[in-house]
């Protein structure tokens, strides 16, 4: 992995760079970890490795706002090394590690440990998410100021799957967050409306006899949080939006000037609750996969900018925890290695979103939500060489057991997707090359 000193020319690729709105066929020259030149007909210096990118897309490295790396505490399902490898394979150079580890990421000590371990692995940059409340218990606020000031620069807080149900605590969190201009991300679920819920509430839950997760449970919390954020003048991020009603609430709030951003997962852009007929617990996820009507609204929202980012909610679970009865299995599914393929297959190929906008939702969109150290930014001379090259026409079959992730709970297992990342580069070093993940920069500690 001494290639950061090497010079690489990505030749004749279609540059899709949302930060500069460029969409053209160019060469990109990388040397010493930086982008040296972007333009047509670059003459490579001596000892340059030239990679023909014709027919392929050159984009900034993707940024994921919502990744469960499971370390510390749940390394049987994933760790920072395996999760970073999955990220690199999916075209990511920056991952936001969710706070639901053990211990919870509610202190600078845990945040810095996660951040440094990410750097040590060296396949992606890991940006920890802090919890809103200590131990995600929904009682006492975390020291936002201390976490923002620590080496991990945490400016994004979420109690992950534990919704802040207490309206007073949510209001105080939003008010307090404005002192440090940090973002509050609240899992949108009213727990009183989802007691025992197992899947989307609707025709399919009625048929299957599984307790339903009503769309109202998501929408009442989003509505409340939008009102509270508006009042506090705070920055609110809505994770994994799943219902058509929620898209409409966020659209209206944005029009009214509320400081809100939102994300959607690849699985919610593609999978409907009809699939639950199989009772395969791999399909169990919170919030649940919903209906085609919801998918249509989510796709429209992603296209028109109501939804800023595609975020994976990559949630590895070991096979023994998923191989249970549906009601006992944990929620969550893998996403990092299939995200680009899903967005490309579901939206770009059918013409529901143009390629530049699609890439924006994977790069500049998430990068606008929080500080990710310049990832997702412009591909211009002088900037760090964090980029990825994708083949948008490559048809491949997802094989859950072949993924980089330690776990194999991919809902896309066996499905054909169009579009795959071929190369990923972090600060000029290949992390994925020709579809093969490079070994991590250092051996695991």
């Amino acid at each position: 992995m001494n290639e950061s000193s090497n010079t690489v020319l990505f030749a004749s690729g279609r540059l899709l760079d949302p930060a500069t709105s460029r969409d053209e066929i160019v060469d990109v020259l990388v040397a010493d970890g930086k982008i040296v030149e972007v333009g047509a007909g670059i003459e490579p210096p001596d000892h340059t490795t030239t990679i023909d990118c014709s027919g392929q897309w050159i984009t900034p490295g993707f940024v994921d706002l919502h990744t469960h790396l499971r370390e510390p505490g749940f390394e049987d399902a994933e760790d920072i090394a395996s999760g970073s490898a999955a990220g690199a394979a999916g075209g990511y150079t920056a991952l936001c590690a969710m706070a639901n580890t053990n211990p919870v990421c509610d202190s600078a000590a845990v945040a810095e440990q996660v951040y440094r371990r990410g750097r040590q692995v060296g396949l992606v940059d890991v940006f920890p998410v802090g919890s809103i409340s200590h131990g995600m218990a929904g009682k006492q606020l975390v020291e936002f100021g201390e976490l923002r000031d620590c080496a991990a620069r945490v400016d994004f807080f979420s109690d992950d799957g534990h919704p802040v149900a207490d309206s007073l605590l949510m209001r105080r969190a939003l008010q307090y967050a404005t002192a440090f201009d940090v973002v509050i991300c609240n899992h949108s679920e009213d727990p009183a409306l989802t007691d025992g819920a197992q899947m989307n509430e609707g025709a399919m839950s009625s048929l299957l006899g599984l307790p339903g997760w009503p769309h109202e449970a998501e929408e009442v919390i989003i509505a409340r949080d939008l009102i509270l954020a508006d009042g506090a003048g705070a920055r609110l991020h809505v994770p994994h939006v799943t219902t058509y009603g929620a898209v409409e609430l966020i659209r209206i709030a944005k029009q009214r000037g509320v400081r809100v951003t939102a994300e959607v997962t690849p699985h919610h852009l593609m999978l409907t609750d009809d699939l639950v007929r199989s009772f395969d617990p791999v399909l169990k996820v919170n919030p649940p996969i919903r209906t085609q009507r919801d998918i249509d609204a989510l796709q429209e929202g992603l296209s028109d900018g109501t939804i800023d980012a595609v975020a994976t909610d990559h949630a590895p679970h070991s096979p023994e925890t998923k191989d249970q009865e549906w009601e006992h299995a944990p929620c969550g599914m893998l996403g990092l290695e299939s995200a680009f393929g899903v967005v490309n297959t579901q939206m770009v190929k059918p013409g529901l979103i143009d390629p530049l906008t699609a890439i924006a939702r994977l790069t500049t969109g998430p990068a606008s939500v929080r500080d990710v150290g310049g990832h997702g930014g412009a591909i211009v001379a002088g900037s760090p060489a964090n980029l990825a090259v994708h083949d948008p026409e490559l048809v491949w079959k997802v094989s859950a057991s072949q993924l980089q992730s330690k776990a194999s709970n991919s809902p896309f297992d066996g499905m054909e997707l169009t579009g795959k990342t071929i190369h990923t580069m972090l600060r000029g070093t290949f992390t994925l090359r020709g579809g093969i993940v490079e070994s991590s920069a250092t051996s695991p500690s």
Binding site: Q198, E201, G202, A203, S205, S206, L207, L208, G209, L210, P211, G212, P214, S278, F279, E320, D323, Q324, E325, W326, E327, H328
Partner: protein, 331 residues
């Protein structure tokens, strides 16, 4: 019928398959009623009753059904089993597979558990009730009982009253009745109706009084008192007043109309004691017919073919895996 590998949901079976099960049950009914002795049909076969949720009635019914076909019965219940000791459902299933059982009858609190089992085991799976999802043998025995009294059910009006939302019986029952072209009216507090019930091809009525005209069957579902705490309805008194079957409502039915209940009953809630014990109540017949239906399901799943009248009367119903039983005769 040979294409019926498992019986997991009424939604999986065709009208022909339903008719075959009912016809077979009719042939086996004298044995279920103990008018004839057991037959050696399934001698040497092992039926595992895997009951991972409390059940007395259904487990006993399946056990009797298997024994009257001379199968060996292995009872496996949740409380004393490895499942409660932390072994996974899948490991338990794989253990059963390795032990070489011929059929698993499964009752689970978890919707979908029988379907998962069918993916892990190589033997027929018979669903004895999974969560709120399905209870197919209950629906089959109910249709069987209705036919005994009413004949062809095409166009007949069946009123199903009560907690449809939490009821596996209701889901199976409605599908089975639709399969035989009966008209179904559902009556329940709106809080106890599943969303999108309008997709089920049923009429939905708010209160029981508005559903009784022209009813051929009134089928009461068990209403658990715990539902009150979940604010599904305010009180037992209020529930009984609007959705309970009492003498006044019974008097409004035609003399041929039937009152049914899957049991166990909450007397004084969804049904008064006097209605349960009335002439028009066929609740105890349902229990006896249940044994015949479960015999029929076990027979068809394990032998892969239908019983003929001569086989039963001649006592030569045989197991394909047990040729030595072919010469045995009914006493």
């Amino acid at each position: 019928m040979s294409d019926l590998r498992h019986l997991i949901s009424i939604a999986d079976i065709t009208r022909d398959q339903l008719e075959t099960i009912l016809d077979t049950a009719q042939e086996l009914l004298p044995i279920a009623r103990r008018e004839r002795l057991s037959v050696p049909t399934l001698r040497g076969r092992v039926v595992c009753n895997m009951f991972l949720e409390d059940s007395t009635r259904t487990r006993l019914s399946f056990e009797l059904a298997a024994k009257r076909l001379s199968a060996e019965v292995m009872n496996f219940t949740g409380k004393g089993s490895s499942v409660s000791k932390g072994e996974s459902f899948k490991d338990t299933a794989l253990t059963l597979n390795a032990m070489g059982v011929d059929c698993v009858v499964v009752r689970s609190h978890s919707a979908g558990a029988p379907l998962q089992l069918a993916g892990w085991l190589d033997v027929p799976i018979l669903n004895a009730g999974d969560g709120w999802h399905q209870h197919p043998t209950q629906a089959l025995l109910d249709v069987f009982t209705m036919r005994q009294h009413l004949g062809d059910l095409s166009g007949r009006r069946v009123v199903i009253a009560g907690d449809v939302l939490h009821s596996r019986v209701a889901r199976s029952e409605i599908q089975a009745l639709r399969l035989v072209d009966a008209q179904v009216t559902v009556v329940a507090p709106p809080t106890l109706l599943p969303p999108a019930i309008s997709d089920w091809g049923v009429e939905v009525v708010d209160v029981l009084d508005d559903a009784l005209d022209g009813a051929d069957v009134v089928y009461l579902l068990r209403v658990q008192r715990e539902r009150m705490r979940g604010a599904f309805f305010p009180s037992v008194r209020e529930y009984a007043r609007w959705w309970g079957m009492d003498d006044r409502r019974l008097a409004r039915l035609s003399r041929d109309a039937l009152v049914m209940h899957p049991g166990p009953m909450n007397r004084g809630v969804e049904i008064t004691g006097s209605v349960a014990d009335s002439q028009q109540s066929v609740i105890t017949e349902q229990v006896t017919n249940g044994i015949a239906i479960r015999m029929a399901c076990l027979y068809l799943l394990l032998s892969g073919r239908q019983a003929t009248p001569s086989e039963v009367t001649a006592g030569s119903m045989t197991s394909e895996k047990s040729p030595e039983t072919t010469t045995e005769r009914l006493a």
